[in-house]
Structure formats: structure tokens, C-alpha cells
């Protein structure tokens, strides 16, 4: 459903990605792991259209989308939960969700009701300013906001960032219910154990290159360790 071909990305003079090839199949859950600065966020920003690339570097359902702007990419059914949540402070919780639903695709699998059913606490706080919520609740808003566009592919950038273990568990509990809708999910995660537990396949990035890929079932911790820190480690 989604492929990248020799995807490169740079920030001015600085090259962040050196030819990344990944694929995501419909309904699949793919984990992307890697140390800080490996290029995980850059990869998701390239797919989602925040960073522009050459057309063929990102291909969605056979169509090159590398040059599409982010607002056109989300219309194709690729939604992103950005790193650091990026909620709109001027909007209430409910307005943040509604703005995610401004692009509504196909049948309305995700609505305010179904998002509130997934994260009931948000219904209680629906009129609060989004940034007045706790970190975990804010993360729920960010996920719900992305779901509101009924994506076929959900990109999640470090949804456990800065949260307590018990809160992380609550958030990850939503993942199976999201996958039930048939959506494919790409998860960027620092917690390798969790990434390997929830995903079907994993890619490990190091310094802008893929150093390991394979089904999570047959990926050993030693292999991850080597791919994560380089062969020297």
C-alpha cells in the first residue's frame, strides 16, 4: 500500500536520510526503531508530506506522492500523530478532534462518539482547552484527532514520549481497536520491547539508513542491539 524508494531527505546542507526503502501492507503494523537522531521523525515527515521529496520516493497505491503537500496526503488516507502531540492550544479538546475530521473519507468509522468511546476521559474534558490536559490525555487527543479523518494508514511518532508506564499501557490498549478498523499503523517507538510486542514487522534506523528489517517474531534482541548501536557495540 505504501512504499518508499531510496528516500532521501535533508535539512539544508545536513542530510538526514540516505536512501530508505520501506513498505507497509494494508492492515499491517510496522514499528520503526532507532536511537535519537536516527531519522525516524524525518521519515514520517517525508511520508506525510511535511517534507517534500522527489515524486517517486514515496509511492501510495501505485501513485507517486513524494511531492504532494501534507494537506493532499491526508486526503489520500494517511494521517499522522506528530511527535510532541502538537495540539492546537487555541482549540478545545472537541475542536481539536473536529479539525482532524475536516477531511472525512469514506464511511464514518471514526466519529466524535467512537473516539470518545475509545478514550472516555476525553468526553469529560471535551470543552477544556486541549493543552490544559495531562500529557497522556493530550496524547489521546492527538491520536483521536488523526483518527477522525478515517485513515487507512496511521503514522504514530513516539506516542509514549514522556508518559508514565501505566499511561503508556492505556494508550497502547487502543491500538488493537484501531487496527480492527483495518487501518495499517506505523509506530515510531523508543521502547524496543514494546515495539517488538505490538508490531508485525520492524525496521531499525541508524544515522539515516535502515540497518535491520524483518518480522518481529524472528527478530532477536541481539540483532536489534547490533542494528541500534552499530556493529562496534
Amino acid at each position: 500500500m505504501l512504499e518508499t524508494h531510496s528516500l532521501t531527505a535533508s535539512y539544508g546542507q545536513f542530510k538526514a536520510l540516505f536512501g530508505i526503502d520501506i513498505t507497509v501492507a494494508p492492515g499491517e503494523c510496522v514499528a520503526i526503531i532507532g536511537a535519537n537522531g536516527a531519522g525516524k521523525t524525518t521519515l514520517l515527515r517525508s511520508i506525510s508530506g511535511v517534507l517534500r521529496n522527489a515524486p517517486g520516493m514515496v509511492v501510495h497505491k501505485g501513485t507517486p506522492i513524494g511531492t504532494l503537500p501534507a494537506d493532499a496526503v491526508v486526503q489520500r488516507g494517511i494521517a499522522m500523530v506528530p511527535e510532541g502531540r502538537k495540539l492546537f492550544p487555541s482549540l478545545s479538546v472537541e475542536e481539536n478532534l473536529l479539525i482532524g475530521g475536516q477531511v472525512r473519507r469514506g464511511d464514518a468509522r471514526w466519529t466524535l462518539e467512537t473516539v470518545y468511546a475509545l478514550f472516555p476521559i476525553l468526553k469529560e474534558r471535551r470543552l477544556s482547552p486541549a493543552t490544559a490536559l495531562s500529557g497522556g490525555q493530550q496524547q489521546m487527543v492527538a491520536i483521536g484527532r488523526a483518527l477522525m479523518s478515517n485513515p487507512e494508514l496511521l503514522l504514530c511518532d513516539e506516542i509514549s514520549l514522556g508518559l508514565a508506564p501505566v499511561v503508556i499501557r492505556d494508550i497502547y490498549a487502543a491500538l488493537p481497536r484501531i487496527r480492527e478498523t483495518g487501518a495499517a499503523v506505523v509506530i515510531v517507538e523508543q521502547d524496543i520491547t514494546r515495539a517488538l510486542a505490538v508490531a508485525d514487522r520492524v525496521y531499525c534506523l541508524m544515522e539515516g539508513r535502515v540497518t535491520l528489517t524483518g518480522p518481529t517474531a524472528s527478530t532477536t534482541r541481539d540483532a536489534v542491539h547490533a542494528a541500534y548501536f552499530g556493529d562496534a557495540a
Binding site: 511535511v50 494537506d71 492550544p89 487555541s90 484527532r145
Partner: protein, 240 residues
């Protein structure tokens, strides 16, 4: 009761300045663009209303209603083709471009409409007044003030009650994340400037009916608008 009279007249005149300021503030709030040509755009709109009055013979209020959609389109295009190209991290290019536009507009209007001062005539309404007991107030200042209140109230409703307003606020907060929501920040900006031009048309209507105007008076209107925004601390729409 001269002091009361002064107070009331001043308050009502404030309505005109609020109209000057609302468009400036709308654009600044959403895209952090300080439009130095705002005053000249008000004068341009006054000329457009005058042209419609003269061409159709309709009264100025109806003429402004006709001019407003055209000026919305003008504002939209101005944003889409000019301002959107210079918006970015650096605040200098938009300042230079709007400053240049201000000069171009003044000279363009001088060329087309000459330096003669003009007035939008409304007949008997110009001098009509109501006696409120302690003070007598003109109908025109009263209408101006009421229009300013209506414009600000409507803007507020748009901002806090509609999907467009939500998009305005989200884009003002963070254009990149807004684009992840399927919003094209550039077209949101274009609609905002179009809307600002509609407000400019209303301001121009009252400016033109209240006093004479000519192509050179724009910059002074800009100062009034600034004063209303800054000294009056009129809330910036769309920003917290």
C-alpha cells in the same frame, strides 16, 4: 454638558477606528502579517464604492454591498499571488512588500482618480440626528458605531462557532500541523485577507460618507488602525 457631548461623540468616532482596526487585526492575528498598505486599501475601497454609486445611482449602502464581493476577490488574489510568496520566518519581506504596495496604491489611485478630494453622498442622512435628552447625536456616527459592534460580533461568531474559524485559529497556532489536518494554510490565509477586505469595505463606506478623502490619506488611516489595535489593546483575532 459639553464634556458629556465630547465623550459620546468620541465614543462613536471610536467605532470608525474599530472598523479600521478590525481588518488589520484579523490578518495580523492569523498570519502575523503587518499590512502597511491597510490604510491605502481602505481608501481604494472607498473609491470603489464611489465608482459603484456613480455608475449605478444606487445608495451607498447597496453600492458597498455590491463592491464587497469584488473586494473579497481582490483580497483573496492579493494574498494568493503576492503575500503568500513572502510569508515566512523572516518578517522583513512582507513588510517591504506591503510598504511597496502602499506606495503603488497611492500613485495608482492618483493616476486614476486624480488628487481631488471626494465624498460619498448620502443626502439628508448626513446631517440627521436624534435628540437623546442630554446629548444630540448624529445618525451617521450612530450607524458607524453600530456597524463596528456588528462586525466585531460577527467576526467573533465566525471564529468561535464555525469550521472556518476553527481553521483560522488552528492555522494561526501552527500552520504545519494544520496542514496535517488537511488544511491548506495558503488558502486559509487567502480567505482571511478576502474577509479583511470585506471589513475594509465597510470601514471605507463610513469613512467616505463621514469626510472627504483623496488618494493620499491612507497612511494616516493606518496609524488610526494601529492605535486602535495597540493602545486600545483590541484583542487579536485568532491568537491568544
Amino acid at each position: 454638558m459639553i464634556w458629556l457631548d465630547t465623550l459620546v461623540q468620541g465614543l462613536l468616532l471610536g467605532g470608525l477606528y474599530a472598523l479600521f482596526a478590525a481588518g488589520l487585526s484579523l490578518v495580523f492575528g492569523i498570519m502575523r502579517l503587518v499590512n502597511l498598505a491597510h490604510g491605502d486599501l481602505i481608501v481604494l475601497a472607498a473609491f470603489v464604492v464611489l465608482v459603484v454609486v456613480e455608475a449605478t445611482g444606487l445608495n451607498p449602502f447597496l453600492s458597498a454591498l455590491i463592491a464587497a464581493p469584488a473586494l473579497f476577490a481582490f483580497g483573496w488574489a492579493l494574498q494568493w499571488f503576492v503575500f503568500n510568496r513572502v510569508l515566512g520566518k523572516d518578517i522583513l519581506p512582507p513588510l517591504l512588500v506591503t510598504f511597496g504596495l502602499s506606495i503603488a496604491l497611492q500613485n495608482g489611485m492618483l493616476e486614476v482618480f486624480s488628487a481631488d478630494s471626494q465624498r460619498i453622498r448620502v443626502g439628508a442622512l448626513e446631517s440627521a440626528s436624534v435628540d437623546l435628552g442630554l446629548v444630540t447625536v448624529g445618525i451617521m456616527p450612530l450607524l458607524t458605531f453600530a456597524s463596528a459592534v456588528a462586525v466585531i460580533f460577527t467576526l467573533n461568531q465566525i471564529f468561535y462557532r464555525t469550521a472556518l474559524g476553527r481553521a483560522f485559529r488552528a492555522t494561526s497556532d501552527d500552520p504545519v500541523t494544520a496542514s496535517l489536518m488537511g488544511i491548506n494554510p495558503r488558502s486559509v490565509f487567502a480567505v482571511a485577507t478576502g474577509l479583511a477586505m470585506v471589513i475594509v469595505t465597510i470601514a471605507a463606506l463610513y469613512l467616505g460618507m463621514r469626510s472627504n478623502f483623496d488618494p493620499s490619506i491612507g497612511p494616516a488611516r493606518l496609524i488610526f488602525a494601529f492605535e486602535a489595535v495597540i493602545i486600545g489593546a483590541l484583542a487579536r483575532f485568532g491568537a491568544r
